[in-house]
Each structure stands twice: as structure tokens, then as C-alpha cells.
């Protein structure tokens, strides 16, 4: 998939993004990094874990660590019975699920419309954002998975 992606990028300088909505904000994940999209069910809580760890769940025989993106982005918690979705990501051979509110369409965006993070962006957001795309009527923040995990592991290493 990465190969195709690069190929595509080589030709018309665009990247495909899987868009997700977290707390009303549109985010985009490069499609090459998204393994699957699923509804997280029967999530087992992990006591004593970091607050953003929603728990662990069984996804087709694999144990996936679910990360609540609302908590990660310091957004208010969603309603108890609200529908949630999860985006499956692989990081260093381990499976993670980013728990988000809703999955949107797949967008093919040109790098032209991308801009770096605004300097006044919330530090905690800037930490995991790879830039902003100007779309019609809204902005899409690029969720940089590498930085997301980097930011989550580093403080732990220190602790």
C-alpha cells in the first residue's frame, strides 16, 4: 500500500487521508498507516494505565491496545452511550486502536493545500499534528502517528 501511495505521490503530489472526527474536529490519517477501521467492542479496562489508555480488546485474535483520542487531545469525554469507532494502527509491530467519534470519507489531498501548524496551536495538539489542510469550509489536522506514539512513550520512559 505504501508503495502505491508513494507512486501516487510521485505522480500528482497528493496523499490520501482517512478522515476522522474527534470532538467535532476533522483529522486526517495517511491511508498507508491505517490498517482497519472497526467498532471497539468489549474493551477490557487496564487498571493503573495512563488515562488515555481506554483498554485492551480482541480484534480477530490479536490483542489491540485502545487509545481514547478524546483523552489524548484533552477534549471532554463523550456521552456514555455515544457510538464510537476505532482506527487500527500498527506501531513497532504492536497493534493499537485509536478510539474516535466517527469515520468520514477518504480524501485525496494535494500538498499545496497543506500548511504547517499555526504557531498558536495548543501545545498538546501541536505535539501530534503534522500540519493543517485547508478544505472548503473547514480545516483538517493531519494526525502524525509517529509523533503521536513518540509523545506517548517519551514521558513514560522518563517516568
Amino acid at each position: 500500500m505504501r508503495h502505491n501511495d508513494n507512486l501516487a505521490a510521485g505522480i500528482d503530489d497528493t496523499i490520501q487521508y482517512v478522515t476522522v472526527i474527534i470532538g467535532g474536529q476533522l483529522f486526517g490519517l495517511p491511508i498507508s498507516q491505517v490498517h482497519d477501521v472497526f467498532v471497539p467492542e468489549s474493551v477490557t479496562r487496564v487498571p493503573l494505565a495512563a488515562p488515555e489508555v481506554a483498554g485492551v480488546l480482541n480484534l480477530r485474535g490479536r490483542i489491540v491496545t485502545a487509545i481514547d483520542m478524546r483523552k489524548r487531545l484533552h477534549l471532554p469525554a463523550r456521552d456514555a452511550n455515544a457510538q464510537v469507532m476505532a482506527v487500527g494502527i500498527e506501531h513497532k509491530g504492536e497493534s493499537y486502536g485509536l478510539v474516535i467519534d466517527q469515520v468520514g470519507e477518504v480524501l485525496r489531498l494535494s500538498n499545496d493545500s497543506m500548511e504547517p501548524n499555526p504557531s498558536n496551536l495548543d501545545k498538546r495538539w501541536a505535539e501530534i499534528s503534522g500540519g493543517v489542510h485547508r478544505l472548503d469550509g473547514k480545516l483538517m489536522i493531519i494526525l502524525d502517528v509517529t509523533r503521536l506514539f513518540g509523545a506517548m512513550f517519551e514521558p513514560m520512559a522518563a517516568a
Partner: protein, 920 residues
């Protein structure tokens, strides 16, 4: 690296390990031709393979070693020096092999000339020492047999792919030996042994005599070997560990899926899947067992290096040591085996260095000079027990104690309460070594703690028993495999958790009305279990899940206690429910969760849910820290309790008992004493008519309780130090007796200055001293200084008495009762004070006074409107109904006998209470 080379490396390393072991054996029984043959054959194989692969350096070295061993075989005397030399050659070969592996198949540069020349020299020596002249032709014979091949190789190192006729020939000759190697070590050993037994008799008998006969025997033997080996090689194949690992993972998945299916079928009672599923279940179980078996290896594989290590240690330490190995065939998981190797080696070193005494000491102790280290292994339940035992001196408890104190790991008081066994456990602490000298072997501060950590890492436990003078033994208990564990599924705080069965000792059901009832000591829950107290912790509290009010929950009737044992620690974990046991496949947690010490992994249960696996070691350490936080909490509470009880006068008071001047005990409330000090008598100075001592940068006056009291002539002088607002006073005492908790009920009042009265403390009449009397002796203004602060709180009382004796006696009494006393010697002075505007809340007046007696004084006061309502007390030595009536007429509020001090205090109290009542 090509496959041939990597195979060669694996094989050669295995062979070398065997050579190590065999050589050590050989050194002990130099006449055992069987062992020599074995060693010779192995070295020969290594040499041959090296030549085949074009590794000249290795080959030359192996050849030189082989030559020397050949001499032994021909009857040369075996010396320890020679064995050492061969062993060091083997070590060099190992080094070269390691570099070879690292360098991807290229032999490292360098020369082994030192070793080779030494080996050759020794071979020559052996030759010259050879017993008879007929030995020489035999040696030549040997040369004829294969000399030309060897020489050729030595002269011209071969490159890969270059094969000479000789090489080929030799390859053929050695083919049978090579096929033997692929078989895993134990089989080959057994096989070899069997062969040896089969053909040992004839060659052993003939060997020293006829070379020709021996050659014959060898040929026959080779033929036999060839047959046997062929059959063995067709029965076993070498499989990459990776393949096995993968197989294991797949089987684990299969087990999980089967569990899921079983779970589904359990819900549908009459499912047609039931029977085939039962079959699938059985097959899966068998498959799992089969795959597990492929991972199993005899523990002897981990012991291979030990005889060599012990031999070296024996030489290095100059102690004869015998290593006994029992149960080498006991099998355990390859993975566990790898992890246990290093700890075992370390423990053997430890036993050799610390455990066993020097031979001279052993002789004195009446033991054989040769120390014995016994290594044994056996199965017990799902575990393997490995024991390392020595017959040495045992653990020196006193030395451990000294070390513990030195390192500050525990206080002396704590140590006193510990059993020897508990003290022994300290050797598992980090950085603990009792070796007096740092040797190259041990005593470097990395010791048993590393062993313990490694053992615990694989879910094992380590224990230790030691008998002074008899030796000590370390017992390791480890699971047979790490991949699949049997776990108890429990519920706590609404979530399920898996607890490995390994650490679960038993389950206890909690019922409030049965004998198994949770009791508490302060706030610590405990359980009486077979006359022992078991500390408890609620799992939901440990994990911080469920209701925060864990205390209430822990007392509830429904619950189970999982009794767990981790190392020597036994404790109970209270859970809400226990489901069943399940074979689970431990899967590592994602790196995001790996910082959680409470869990060792997670797994998927039969119903498809993910469950966290509790790490017993994590619980044990959390338990310890939980306990200490409870202790801290308790200490805080106790401090609070002490505060409140101190405020509450009714409760007991800590009293300091001492002797001063007279033999009767004296007491003072401990809370008033700042500290107890002892001063060198020589430090006590005399200045301005009083004794002083330098204390904390200033001069502290010393006060004697009785005039008759003499301070000591020499040594130290004990004293009680009272400090307040930067001033200190030393009350000189003869002896500090005790500190007791008791009620301070002064039963008999005293009229001696400085003594409040007598109370019964510790069943003895004890004088309670009146600090109010002594403090002003040090600083006259001791109480005055506080006047400003407490003016609002204390009542000012004017004491009028012509007798200095009574003034001195009553002033402290009133002061001790909380009054601010001003004493004057007569009515005239009293009037002066009152006219000057000094105000008093009460006046206590003597009756019998010169000039103006008490009655007149009082009548004069009452005539003045300012003092009409001022309470005035009469104090008289003469108490008669007539005088009391006279007093009342004069206007006194009360009339008290002069020696009735409690009456005086009570009367004053009544007066002020009445006044307050009026005011209110």
C-alpha cells in the same frame, strides 16, 4: 554466512562443551580409556571439519591438541598441566569461533604459536617419557595411519571449494562421526555411552599392548558406529529454533480458538458440534503437548559448562571440589533453560567460593578435604526444582547481620526479631556480598540479587536453607514453560483478572460467621489461617478499580481470598469472585502498558474477551509498599491520639521516674522534659555561686532538687533538661529510673517545697516534683516572661502573708494551679500596690499579721467601693468556728486552713466560678 558454516559453528560449540566436561572427567580418572577415546574423537572431528571448511588457524590448533591427546592414548602420563593446556587450547578455539561467527565466516588474524609450541613440546616430552622403546614405533604407526593427511593440511591451508584427494578420503572416513553430531546432545551422549559399553571391553583390555589389535578394534568399532549412526540420523533431524517457535505460537492460537469454541458449545446444551469438538479438543491438547515436547530439553544442557567451571575454580581457589549432578535428564522448556543458565553458573561459583571452606578448615571441622557441590533437578507439579547444595560452612548469620547493619538495610532491633531464615534472605538484596575479600570469583557486589531477579523474571522463586557448619542449599522453583500457564480467573471491582496458578497456594472463602473471617488490626485486614495471621489486601484497592471505599467491601461477607506465595512472602488477595482455571497463553502487553508492574501480560479468554494477567511479583512488592503506607498512616493516627489523650487530663500520662537526693522515686510528667542529658562532671562549671554547664552554645544553670544532693565526683552526671523559649535549665538527678504510663493522682499533698505531693506510680509511693518551684531557681523571671502572653488567661492573685516561709510555699502552689501570684509581706504593702493601680482578681490573706491583721485588712478593703466585690480569702493557722464567723463578719468570702492547699485551690476555683456565674 553460509549454512554449512553456521551448522559447523553450532556443532563445534556443542562438541567443545562436551570436550570440556569429558576432559575434566578424564583428569580425574586418567586411566579411563573410554573417556579419552571420546575426547579424542571429538577433537579429531573438530579438526577434520575445520580442515574441510578451510579454517587453517583452528585446524592447526586442534591438531596440536589432538597430537598431545594421542600421546595420552598411547599411554603417556596424564598431568594436570597437560590437561590445563588442552583446556586453554579449547578456550582459544572457542574464542576464534566466536570471532568467526561475528566476522561472518572469516577466521580472525593472529597466531596460536604460543599454544601450539607448548602443546608440541608437551607431546615430545610425553614421547621421551614414554615407558618402553616399543612405544616409538607405535607413535610412528600412528603417524602412518593419518600423518600424511595432517601434514599436508598444515603446510598448505585449504580454501573453500578446494578439495584434495586426501581431504575427500578423510571426509569419507569421518562421515560417520559427522552424522552423529546433528543429533541433540543427550541422545548422542547416551548413544555414545551405549557404543562404548558395547565395545569397551575388548579395546580396553588390549589397548596398551598391541597397536595392530587396536586398529582392528577401531575398524570394527567404526563399522558398528556407522550402522548405528545411520539409523539415528534417519530418526532425527535438526530443526531451526525459529520454526519451533512459530509452531508454538500457532498451537497457542489453536488452543485459544478451541477454548472459544468450547465456550460457545457450553452455552448450547445439545449441539451437534459437541462430539467433533471434543475430538478437536483432544487433538489440540495432544498437539500442544507434542509441540511443547519439541521445546523441551534436558537441563543437563545448561549444566554442561559447569564441570569445567568447577575445575577451574578448584584450581584458582586451591580447594578440591567435587561436582555431583543429579537429574540432568530432567526436561524443561528451551526458553527457560536459556534463562536459567547464568543464574546457575553464578550459584555454583558462589557455593565454591563462599560456601566451601579451605581444605585445612574442613579437616579441622572433621569433614573430607574435598568439598562437594550437589546440583540436582527434578519435576514437581508443573515446575522444575533445581537445588544447588554445598557441604560447606553454611551462612554466617552474624556476618550477614553485620553487613545488613552496615548497609542500613535493617536496624538492629528489626534484626533481633528475625529468624535466622529471614536473615539469610538478606543475601538476595542488591549489592550484598559477605565475601571478606574481593576475589576474581565473587565478592564484587553483584551477586545473589541478580540470581533472584533472573529467577523471578521467569516466574520462579528462590529459597535458601542453611545449617551452620553443615552447608547451605539454594532451591529454585521455576515453571516448566513460559508460553502456556494455568491461571485462575477471578473478578475484582467488576473486571476479570487471571492469576497464575503457580503462585496460588489455596483459596479461602470468606464468611463472617465462620472461622474464616476477616479481622483487622487497626486498619490492616488479616485472616486467621491455621493459627497464622495472613496479611490481606483487596485486589480492587491494589489496582485502584471499583469503589474507593474498599474498607467496607473488604469486610463484606461474599468474597474469596486467594492465598498467594511469592518467594517467602505469603499473603491473601481478596477478590469478589472466582470463576475457574484456564490454560492461557501469555501474550506480551503492548509497550505502552509495559510499565505496569502489576501485570505480566494479557491473553484472550475462551469467550473472546481480553484479560490482564496479574504478576504475582508485582503484587508482592505492591503489598509491601501498601503495608508501609498503612504503617505511615497508623503512625500519624497514633500521634494524633497521643495529642488528644494529652489534652484530656483524665487519661494516663507518661511520667519520667528518677531518683535525686533521697532513695524515694520522684516523677515529673515526661511531656515537660525537653531531653535527658548526661554531662561530664568536669564540664560542670561554678560561677557566681551556682553551677552551670555549656549547653548548645549558651550557659545552662543547674538546679539541685535537694540541698543535700551532691553531684558526682567523676564520670557523667545525668540531668533532665527543660527548655522553653530559648532558655534551658538542667535539673540534676542521681539516676533516671524509668518511663511509665500512669494516672497522675496526687493522693497525699506535700508541704515540702518543690514537691506537689505523692502518687502511687508503679505500685510505689512517688513524689511528684513541682517544676514551678525549680524553674524560677534557674531564671527568676521564668514565669514573668510569659505574663504578657497569658495575662488574659490567668487570674492575678495577691498573696498577703508576713511569713516568708508561707509566701515561698504557697506561691508555687498557686502558680502551679494557674494563677499569677504576687506575694507581699503585709497589708500595708498590699494597699500600696492596690493604690498604684495594680489590679487583682482575688486576694489571699493571712489573719495573724503584725500591725494590721487580716480581719482589719479585709474590713478596710470592703469600705473602699472599688474593692467591695473583690473576692478575698482568709488563710489561717487557727481554724475555729468562732474565727470563721469573725472572718465572715469582716467580709471574707471564704476561710481556709493554712495547710489545706487543695482546699485553698478549690476555694479559689469556687470564687472565680461564682464570679463568672455572676458575670454571665
Amino acid at each position: 554466512m553460509d549454512d554449512l558454516l553456521s551448522e559447523f559453528l553450532t556443532e563445534t560449540n556443542e562438541s567443545l562443551d562436551v570436550v570440556d566436561v569429558e576432559l575434566v572427567k578424564f583428569e580425574q580418572e586418567p586411566n579411563n580409556a573410554k573417556i579419552l577415546d571420546n575426547v579424542f574423537r571429538l577433537v579429531h572431528t573438530i579438526k577434520g571439519t575445520c580442515g574441510f571448511l578451510g579454517l587453517p588457524r583452528l585446524e592447526a590448533l586442534a591438531h596440536a591438541g589432538e597430537t598431545l591427546m594421542g600421546k595420552f592414548r598411547d599411554g603417556a602420563k596424564v598431568t594436570p598441566d597437560a590437561v590445563s593446556l588442552i583446556l586453554s587450547s579449547i578456550d582459544r578455539i572457542k574464542e576464534i569461533l566466536a570471532e568467526l561467527e561475528a566476522a561472518n565466516g572469516t577466521e580472525p588474524a593472529g597466531s596460536d604459536h604460543d599454544l601450539i609450541s607448548e602443546l608440541e613440546r608437551m607431546a615430545l616430552e610425553a614421547d621421551t617419557r614414554g615407558s618402553a622403546a616399543d612405544e616409538a614405533p607405535e607413535a610412528e604407526d600412528d603417524g602412518l595411519a593419518r600423518g600424511e593427511l595432517v601434514e599436508q593440511v598444515l603446510e598448505r591451508p585449504l580454501r573453500p571449494g578446494e578439495v584434495s584427494l586426501d581431504e575427500l578420503e578423510r571426509a569419507f572416513r569421518e562421515a560417520e562421526v559427522e552424522v552423529e553430531l546433528p543429533v541433540s546432545a543427550p541422545i548422542s551422549e547416551i548413544e555414545a555411552d551405549a557404543e562404548m559399553e558395547a565395545e569397551a571391553a575388548p579395546p580396553a583390555a588390549l589397548a596398551p599392548r598391541s597397536r595392530v589389535r587396536e586398529e582392528e578394534a577401531a575398524t570394527r568399532e567404526t563399522a558398528e558406529k556407522g550402522e548405528k549412526k545411520a539409523s539415528v540420523s534417519s530418526q532425527s533431524i535438526r530443526v531451526a529454533v525459529e520454526t519451533l517457535e512459530h509452531l508454538m505460537t500457532m498451537v497457542s492460537e489453536l488452543v485459544l480458538t478451541r477454548n472459544q469454541l468450547l465456550e460457545i458449545v457450553r452455552r448450547h446444551e445439545d449441539s451437534e458440534f459437541k462430539v467433533p469438538l471434543q475430538r478437536l479438543s483432544n487433538v489440540t491438547a495432544e498437539l500442544q503437548e507434542g509441540v511443547m515436547k519439541t521445546r523441551m530439553q534436558p537441563i543437563g544442557n545448561a549444566w554442561q559448562k559447569l564441570p569445567r567451571i568447577v575445575r577451574d575454580l578448584s584450581q584458582e581457589l586451591d580447594k578440591p571440589i567435587e561436582l555431583e549432578m543429579i537429574g540432568a535428564e530432567t526436561e524443561l522448556d528451551r526458553q527457560v533453560l536459556e534463562l536459567i543458565k547464568d543464574p546457575l553458573t553464578h550459584m555454583i561459583r558462589n557455593s565454591a567460593d563462599h560456601g566451601l571452606e579451605m581444605p585445612s578448615d574442613r579437616r579441622v571441622a572433621g569433614k573430607p578435604e574435598k568439598g562437594t557441590i550437589t546440583l540436582s533437578a527434578y519435576h514437581e507439579g508443573g515446575h522444575i526444582i533445581i537445588e544447588v547444595k554445598d557441604d560447606g560452612r553454611g551462612i554466617d548469620v552474624d556476618r550477614v547481620k553485620a553487613k545488613v547493619l552496615e548497609r542500613g538495610l535493617a536496624s538492629e532491633a528489626e534484626l533481633d526479631k528475625m529468624t535466622d531464615q529471614q536473615i539469610h534472605k538478606f543475601i538476595f538484596h542488591a549489592g550484598f556480598s559477605t565475601a571478606q575479600n574481593i576475589t576474581s570469583v565473587s565478592g564484587r557486589g553483584v551477586g545473589m540479587d541478580v540470581v533472584r531477579n533472573n529467577v523471578e523474571l521467569i516466574g520462579g522463586t528462590i529459597d535458601l536453607r542453611s545449617v551452620p557448619g553443615r552447608g547451605s542449599s539454594f532451591i529454585i522453583k521455576i515453571p516448566l514453560t513460559l508460553a502456556i500457564v494455568s491461571a485462575l480467573i477471578v473478578e475484582a471491582g467488576g473486571d476479570r483478572f487471571a492469576i497464575p496458578q503457580l503462585s496460588v497456594v489455596e483459596l479461602v472463602r470468606v464468611q463472617s460467621n465462620s472461622e474464616h473471617r476477616i479481622e483487622r488490626i487497626k486498619d490492616t485486614p488479616v485472616l486467621r489461617l491455621r493459627n497464622k495471621l495472613l496479611p490481606l489486601v483487596h485486589m480492587s484497592q491494589l489496582l485502584g478499580v471499583g469503589p474507593n471505599d474498599g474498607d467496607q467491601e473488604i469486610e463484606s461477607d461474599t468474597g474469596f481470598i486467594v492465598v498467594m506465595q511469592v518467594g517467602s512472602q505469603t499473603f491473601g488477595v481478596v477478590v469478589d469472585g472466582v470463576f475457574h482455571t484456564e490454560e492461557i497463553v501469555v501474550k506480551p502487553m503492548s509497550s505502552m502498558l509495559r510499565n505496569l508492574t502489576m501485570f505480566s501480560g494479557n491473553t484472550i479468554l475462551g469467550d473472546g474477551a481480553v484479560i490482564m494477567i496479574i504478576d504475582p511479583n508485582g503484587v508482592a512488592s505492591a503489598m509491601a509498599s501498601h503495608a508501609s503506607s498503612v504503617v505511615a498512616e497508623n503512625e500519624r493516627k497514633e500521634a494524633e491520639d497521643a495529642m488528644t489523650s494529652a489534652l484530656d487530663g483524665q487519661s494516663t500520662v507518661s511520667m519520667l521516674l528518677f531518683r535525686a537526693g533521697s532513695p524515694e522515686p520522684k516523677a515529673v510528667p515526661l511531656s515537660l522534659v525537653t531531653r535527658l542529658e548526661e554531662f561530664e562532671v568536669s564540664k560542670i562549671e561554678h560561677s557566681n555561686g551556682r553551677d552551670l554547664v555549656q549547653y548548645r552554645g549558651s550557659l545552662m544553670p543547674l538546679v539541685y532538687i535537694e540541698a543535700s544532693q551532691t553531684r558526682r565526683g567523676e564520670g557523667t552526671q545525668p540531668m533532665l533538661v527543660f527548655s522553653d523559649a530559648g532558655r534551658s535549665m538542667g535539673l540534676v538527678v542521681d539516676e533516671i529510673v524509668d518511663i511509665v504510663e500512669d494516672r497522675m493522682n496526687i493522693e497525699v499533698g506535700s508541704d515540702r517545697a518543690g514537691i506537689l505531693g505523692s502518687a502511687v506510680i508503679k505500685d510505689k509511693a512517688t513524689e511528684i516534683i513541682d517544676l514551678g518551684y525549680y524553674l524560677p531557681q534557674a531564671f527568676e523571671d521564668w514565669f514573668m516572661r510569659k505574663e504578657m502572653d497569658i495575662a488574659a488567661l490567668t487570674k492575678k492573685v495577691l498573696l498577703v502573708d508576713d511569713s516568708a516561709f508561707f509566701r515561698n510555699m504557697l506561691t508555687p502552689v498557686l502558680k502551679a494551679a494557674g494563677y499569677d501570684v504576687t506575694a507581699v509581706n503585709g497589708a500595708r504593702q498590699a494597699f500600696e500596690l492596690l493604690e498604684n493601680g495594680d489590679t487583682f482578681q482575688a486576694i489571699v490573706s493571712d489573719i495573724e499579721m503584725p500591725e494590721i491583721n487580716g480581719f482589719e485588712f479585709c474590713e478596710a478593703l470592703r469600705r473602699d467601693p472599688r474593692f467591695r466585690k473583690l473576692p478575698v480569702l482568709a488563710l489561717s493557722a487557727v481554724v475555729s468556728p468562732a474565727s470563721i464567723e469573725r472572718g465572715r463578719q469582716a467580709g471574707f468570702d471564704d476561710y481556709v486552713a493554712k495547710f489545706d492547699r487543695p482546699g485553698l485551690i478549690a476555694s479559689l476555683k469556687d470564687l472565680f466560678a461564682g464570679e463568672m456565674g455572676i458575670a454571665a
